[in-house]
Symmetry: C2
Subunit: 146 residues, 2 copies
């Protein structure tokens, strides 16, 4: 059994209605919800929006010390057009533009948006990795630098 | 084609050698590496460790403003014994204990550790969700509250 896994990604949010509304407007479909948490099913893992105060309580920390930005989530696509479209749809749903999509020096195409709570999403193509239609990625074994 | 996806999770780290050593000691296997980034293959998504200064540059932000704690990653397991074992192995690899594993009020079993850069991992069981052997989870459609 493989132990290398990410089963859930949980994003702490200040206003669950606002956060849920953003993700629904961006195209995510709620699979399960409670007063302080909402769950979306993704490719083999779950994305959850969790009230920041509840997350802080669960962690035994002060809500004010929980920061964002040092980690990012990415959605990969096959084409630059899809990246542009998903970037535009995020902004139309209420995301802040962080960096417009552009060619990268490593040969991909990438842009960043921030959700209403500051959580960062990269929207990208990476021609060197295998991408399934559900967004799952696999790194080839035979790449240099491994 | 499904658009709800998390293709990558990227963690900004201050010392790539230290961060890589922690994850390798915890059982992750590097699939690809460069000077400022390391990639691990997980269940349909990639976990990457990326030098915080490079991430900040990519985001057009100051490295000092990038915080942690408002998002968490989780690894789900079938048994409480596996959670305890993964918790212990994380601590032995250099993680900080945030909350020892304990029964939760919603019927699971969960503990938290922080990696050397402060990124939070929850180790948990959730008897209400389907868990594949690779750590992928699926939320049933017929749950209350959906």
């Amino acid at each position: 059994m493989s132990r290398e896994r990410v089963s859930l990604v949980t994003l702490g949010v200040d206003d669950l209605r606002r956060a849920r509304a953003f993700y629904e407007a961006w195209g995510w479909v709620v699979r399960q919800a409670a007063d302080d948490i909402v769950f979306f099913q993704a490719n083999g893992l779950v994305l959850s929006l969790y009230l920041r105060s509840a997350l802080a309580h669960e962690l035994g920390r002060d809500a004010a010390e929980l920061g964002t930005g040092r980690s990012t989530l990415a959605q990969n696509f096959h084409t630059e057009g899809e990246v542009d479209e998903r970037f535009k749809s995020a902004v139309m749903a209420g995301a802040a533009m962080v960096r417009r999509p552009a060619r990268t020096e490593w040969g991909g195409y990438s842009g960043y948006v921030a959700d209403p709570d500051g959580h960062l999403w990269e929207l990208a193509t990476n021609p060197f990795w295998h991408l399934d239609d559900d967004g799952s990625v696999t790194i080839p074994h035979n790449l240099p630098g491994a």
